[in-house]
Amino acid sequence: MPEALRSPETVGRVRDALVKYGFIAVTVVLFVFFAATEPAFAQSSTMFSMLKFASVTAILGLGVTFTMVVGGLDLSIGATAGLAVQLAAMTMVFYNLTGPTAVAAVLLGGVLVGLANAVLIVVFKIPDLLATLGMMFVIQGAKLIPVSGQSVSSGMVLRDGSVAPGRFTPDFLLIDRGFVGPVPLPVVIMLVLVVVSWFVLSRTSAGRILYAIGANPEAARLAGVRVGLYRGLAYVISGLFASVGGLILVSRIGQGDVNAGASSLLEAVAVALVGTSVLGLARPNAWGTLLGALLVAIVLTGLTMKGFQYYHQDTAKGFVLIVALLFSFTLSRRKVRYTPAT
């Protein structure tokens, strides 16, 4: 019945389906396309390296997701990851301390950045974008001072002419290179954080409160919610996640690259935004963010295999973002909402 096919209900139903599953469909179609045309693509080693590739972006994206849930955004997330890189390198290379100490220093650094953001936003009432943007510049600038703008690597010559005493410890390097069974450790960390974030956001009262703050902070306050406390919490979580992402990153590159993390900001924000469209939820959510990171990884890996150069990557990422946003905003004609899962 061609008539029925053209009826408004059918059009509406098709649009609903596109909105709900379109994004997942695009991911699957691309995956199948690359797998069919590039034999190397579908190998399990490629799969794992792709997941590994996605892990840092996904974890930073989760941090962004928490701040998006409270109606804000953390622009210092890339810089915080960069700070983590340098803190880890300095702890081990300059001060010759152990890997676990480095991990502790990194996580503490992330939490402190988050707390500082929280104080600026909650106590001093600076708009979130400006506060975290300021924080981004402060971190990027301040971390150059103790290293005179140099990247930290084992055996480097210090300012007083001596050689740095330490090096990246083997146990620290295992963060990126280790496995749990066949699964690379960064992938395990990523999955654990996704599950934890999903659980907190959609199954606990804390998550409910975070969404309430995003939906209408004044209504939340007048319902007895401690808005400042929870909004601050979102930024602390974001700082913590950024430092976890930074840990994986520095363990991967094995040196304290001063530029590390700088490009992660946009990617993290993009995957969190893309994630809002999954299943037509139109709200920031943990699984969506993971899927966003996977889609980006699939596209980039596939294109690289097809022989595209690294300088095509940004264009590709931009396209992915725009297509995904098309599903969530244009087709669904909805704004991002802050409705809790029920």
Partner: protein, 514 residues
């Protein structure tokens, strides 16, 4: 389809300015309008009555182009037209002031830009023009309602206006467009008496100039004094049509159907003895004298005063929503210094705020999640939500207050205004308050629901709670309260039991200026 309802009597033999024929409208499976036929005649005010959720606002949105995918026919001056957008409606001379202010105010613009917004849309005033040059026209529009706003007010961001002023802004904007058909959806629910009187005078003048007016209100006194005709909407159909003189009792009967009106006349008076909240030396407004008052358990205290008299400041201070300027509070004889609302909620002190959309509703949330937000501890185990419990709470709120909804998972955005209010009041009452502060609780609720809320509030007081109702409407206060406090400019002018003081005395003390 044949029209079984009689069409409106064509009193003057004139062509109706606007005719609706067999209008239908559904949201998904929920058919809200089931064939509404209605004619608006030039020079007449038609009142539209109906319970919360009857479909009044939906009908209005159909005729003002918000819902172009309706069924049925709309005719202007006898000719069928497609009302495909609000702009089309404006072109046909239809001006509407919708019930929800937040849907029509343009955020991010100044007050003046909002006032001249129609002209900007029509391109008569270029959108990019300095604020200064908009001011003359904005002043003119503000003057239609004698708003007397200074340039300071006109250049403010529109968000800084309170809810009453925003309503006045929208009214002035609609009235200044020289409409042929003027549609007002509960325009007075946020206005003070004197502002409402100004509006009525203007509506009468426009009517005498030949404008057709459609007027929605839950306030029967307004309708009987203003309307020339009346129609009642129930379950998506017109159930009753009358011409002046109006039989309001018949209108209410057909509006509520089988539901019986809660009896308010024969209620028993309650007098509390135990003091719940002691207010001492609290200064409510900038430069007002400090207030001392005791609020008692076991009675309903009504605080009445004009808008801006300091009623909300009192309630918000007790709830910890705003810091008190000076003075102190005691609760149950102990020091009580709520630094934040969470402190108040923990002690059983609850507030239903005045501005529902801005202060209580969470866009996109369900009835269940809205109901449980203040009491998440009650629906969690070690911080983990228990969906069954949540639904239980929501179902109790829905049945206790007769919320018209499809169930606990219904989106609150899709509830009619009055039903939203029932959810907001219900969630606090369900939790068993010690002190319950209700700031303008009857805003936008129909008389059936108003009776329900009153009765429930009195039940709470009878069970020992301290219930405080704040309102600018003396009749509402008389209906619900045992004791009345009159506030004028942040000071207490009268404290008496309602049985011992008559309306005139209350009204007189309300308007008394120091």
């Amino acid at each position: 389809m044949l029209d079984e309802t009689p069409s409106a009597p064509d009193a003057a033999g004139a062509t109706p300015a606007l005719e609706l024929e067999d209008i239908t409208m559904s949201f998904g499976a929920n058919q809200v309008l089931k064939g509404v036929t209605l004619a608006l005649l030039p020079g007449r005010v038609t009142a539209l009555l109906g319970a919360n959720g009857a479909g009044k606002s939906t009908l209005i949105k159909v005729l003002s182009g918000v819902y172009p995918d309706h069924g049925g026919t709309i005719r202007i001056d006898g000719e069928a037209v497609a009302m495909e957008s609000p702009m089309a409606a404006a072109r046909h001379g239809i001006q509407t002031v919708h019930q929800r202010i937040d849907e029509t105010i343009v955020p991010g613009l100044s007050v003046a830009e909002n006032l001249v917004f129609e002209e900007i849309i029509r391109g008569e005033i270029p959108a990019v023009r300095s604020l200064r040059r908009l001011l003359p026209r904005a002043r003119e529009i503000a003057a239609t309602l004698d708003l007397g706003w200074s340039d300071d007010v006109l250049t403010k961001d529109v968000f800084e206006l309170g809810i009453a002023d925003s309503q006045l802004l929208l009214l002035a904007r609609a009235l200044s467009q020289q409409p042929k058909v003027l549609v007002l959806d509960e325009p007075t629910s946020t206005l003070s008496q004197s502002e409402a009187d100004r509006l009525f005078a203007l509506v009468r003048r426009l009517r005498d100039e030949g404008v057709a007016v459609l007027y929605v209100s839950h306030r029967l006194s307004e309708i009987s004094s203003l309307a020339d005709e009346l129609v009642v909407l129930r379950d998506g159909r017109i159930r009753n049509r009358q011409e002046a003189p109006l039989d309001m009792a018949a209108a209410v009967r057909s509006m509520l159907g089988d539901t019986v009106l809660a009896e308010t006349a024969g209620r028993t008076e309650m007098r509390g003895t135990r003091v719940a909240v002691e207010v001492r030396g609290v200064q409510l407004l900038h430069r007002s004298a400090p207030v001392d008052v005791d609020l008692r358990y076991g009675e309903v205290t009504g605080v009445v005063g004009l808008i801006g008299a300091g009623k909300s400041e009192l309630a918000r201070g007790i709830f910890g929503a705003d810091r008190l300027r000076c003075g102190s509070l005691r609760l149950d004889g102990e020091d009580y210094r709520p630094r934040r609302t969470a402190d108040a909620v923990r002690r059983g002190v609850y507030l239903v705020p005045e501005d529902r959309a801005a202060e209580a509703m969470l866009p996109g949330w369900t009835i269940a999640t809205t109901s449980t937000l203040p009491f998440l501890r009650g629906v969690t185990r070690s911080g983990i939500l228990r969906p069954g419990r949540e639904r239980g709470v929501a179902e109790a709120v829905i049945t206790d207050f007769g919320v018209v909804a499809t169930g606990p998972d219904q989106n609150v955005d899709a509830l009619s205004g009055g039903n939203q209010q029932k959810v907001v009041v219900g969630r606090w009452m369900h939790a068993g308050p010690r002190v319950l502060l209700l700031d303008e609780p009857f805003r936008g609720v129909d008389i059936g629901a108003r009776g329900d809320i009153s009765r429930r509030a009195r039940e709470q007081a009878a069970a020992g709670a301290c219930v405080v109702v704040l309102s600018s409407d003396v009749d509402e206060i008389r209906e619900i309260a045992d004791r009345v406090l009159v506030m004028v400019e942040g000071e207490l002018r009268l404290d008496a039991y309602t049985t011992e003081v008559d309306n005139d005395a209350i009204v007189a003390s309300m308007s008394e200026v120091a």
